[in-house]
Amino acid sequence: MAEYKRPQSEQEFDQNFKQKKPLMNQTEAYMESSRCLFCYDAPCVQACPTHIDIPLFIKQIHTGNAEGAARTIYDMNWMGNACGKVCPTQVLCEGACVFNHQHVKPIEIGRLQNYATNKVMEAGKSLFHSGSPKGKKVAIIGAGPAGISCACELSVLGYSVTIFEAKDKPSGLTVYGTAPYKITNEEALTEMEYLQKQLSFKINYSSPVSNADDLQKLEAEFDAIFLGVGNGPTAALHLPGEDFENVIGAVEFVETLRIQKHRVQVPDRIVVIGGGNTAMDAASESARMGASQVYLAYRRSKEQMGAYWFEYDLAVSAGVKSIFNASPLEILGKDKATGVRFIKTTQENGRIKEVPGSEFVLECDLVIKATGQAKMAEFLTQIKGLELDKSNRILVHPETFQTGNPKYFAGGDAVNGGAEVVNGAFEGKQAARGIHQYLLPHSSYDSKS
């Protein structure tokens, strides 16, 4: 029944994870860009968290000025290429395209964006350079979308920036946490390299900042610190049997897949627990790795899933089956998980109620928990004055992204709880401006050239 053969080589892996938004050729870009209406106060721009001037870059592409288009994109969003590929454009820019109201296919904004950014990356064309040195040093913890964006913006403004990254690659979840059919590792890393070549920020890899001592050292050496630490590992469900080795977190599953690709061997029967986009990714990916039976189990109804409808559709099209209104009670097995016992649920005033006597068992060889990531509270509480909300998200000023400790700024998943690459990119950039204002309150933002 499997829709996909188990990939035996990187090539077969790539086939199973064929890019959902392949690069446009010149003719495609020309034709597609010609359709843009050039709306006034365009809804696509309003829908973009980074407010890229989309009609402008589309017109620039159409008139053969791909470099100008790329500049328009990067001016607002340092993760311009990654966002074109991994953004849920169906609910952002493309979802806002006025053509939707006419039942005409919206402009393929994401792919056009990639067309422009790829042009400059391919040509190695420098669009930006570091600003004249301001004599101030900023440390950034985490080389994810927020951290990288913050670093780029600060470099342009003339700050000396060092990023401390626990892993050995930049871009955070763009590489480690995104479904492989959205962006390839190579493409994500190419953009990182492209940015680093133009802007002189430093990244220290395999350099986790994890305790009070580390923080103290940074505070002593740097004038400001940006926290782009993201979230932690998959949160515990507190279910019996959760400790079996074949019960894993979705975030970890996706990460292993991104790095090991076809070398990952998935078993035949997999149960994914959760209803968010990560659950959809994990289920989709399990099926694409050749598992013969993949179940997605969510304790509420289909309509209540946090996942975007198109992510769910994608999972279903890969052969994933779904069970709604079923809550896990226990993971069964002796040494290994052999199944999950569920109970059916109904809802009363939004609260889940178990239906007595409705228990059932789904047999499986692997359980993937996609039930949210733990927060970094343990680490964060070591920063004096830093305030967290009750979901352990860092509280920041809405415009400057400054935390309760004036020397610390924060953005990305650690602040928004877990959102898109584009949100991290926006917040990192905003925080850089906040840092600029904090360190040099009398200078303008326009020192960018």
Binding site: Y30, M31, S34, R35, L37, F38, C39, Y40, D41, P43, H62, V98, F99, H101, Q102
Partner: protein
Amino acid sequence: MTDLSINFAGIKAPNPFWLASAPPTNSGYQIMKAFEAGWGGAVWKTLGVPVVNVSSRYGGLNYRDTRMSGFTNIELITDRTLADNLREMEEVKKYFPNHAVIASLMVESRREWQQIIKDVENAGADGIELNFGCPHGMCERGMGSAVGQEPTVLKTIVEWVMEAATVPVITKLTPNISDIEDPGLAAVQGGTNAISLINTIKSIIGIDLDTFSPLPAVDGKGTNGGYCGPAVKPIALNMVRQLAQHPEIAGTPISGIGGIETWRDAVEYILLGCTSVQVCTAVMHYGFGIVREMESGLRQFMEDRGFQTIYDFAGKALPNVLEWKDLNLKHKVVASINADKCIGCQLCYIACEDGAHQAIALPQNGQSRVPEIIDENCVGCNLCSLVCPVEACITMEKRDNGKEQLTWDELVAADAAPVTFNDPRAGGNGHFVPEPTQALKKHAS
């Protein structure tokens, strides 16, 4: 029963769709193929002393992803010998005796004109078209548009032709002249049986941004070409209309040329008085097959309206083309936006705001994106309805009572028209115009 056949100044054809004298009529092979495809007639690529051509020869004007919305060429008349052309013409007439084969001609002396007329008549040509229009190359040698731009010369040559011709003669005019009525009148006075227009417009279609060469480029250089294709239709329609309304020209059959690609284009020409139409660019773009759409559309148009022949509606638009001074100043329309159809692009807003009369407001509630017409500011200019990408979303609603009639002439006669620079009777007086500085406030917020 709908009958598409025509008798154009004595030239009979099964339908009014003719190929214009141009590359598609370069050979008997092409014309035979065209007749098989459904064309009613063909004007043979201009015959004369054969030329030597350059490479390259054509240039296109693209609009967005639309190719060749305008087209230019620097090709000259036939580069094949007269003997070859005549032999093929004879062959075509043998196979298609009921189709119109018209020989386009361009020579210099009276002797040459009268000789070549005999030659093409002997080959079976049903008519002759005098090429007084070609605006590139040939005009440098005193032919083509050089003739069309000199009404007295034109008249003289038409007279030479009329002395010799036994088949109907069509005089083809150049638009590269300040008033098309001058050569039109000269042709009629010279005795022509019919007129065709327009030939191509003198043009530079573009410049290569890397080499700085005009296009099409011939070894890095270029020259003005002859512009045609869909973009020239409005110019041609007006020139056709001018001749069709001229008291001394009206009644002379007119063959309309310029940007005709669909049945709609053809009907417009016919409504302005043409009784045959000629097509070139559309065929160069899509091939002879497009005539099927034209023929079917024309037939449908006629059936829907009960027209038996094209003569039933030829010229029907002419009485409606007036001079500006005769238009009704009391007619008043105001734009109306259909909120159900509006997709919220707000192009109407910005077009009116920046390009017209500041008569459209953005919605204030922050919810909807449907702009609103400010009725009292709207002058009924149409711009919003033109930029709107949704069919029939913005309509122009009639606001006058239909009873009042006042023309400019009447206004002047009643001494009610503005006559001095600061005349309070200025039409825009009292019409809303924002203060200049309001532009800055908007910009700052």
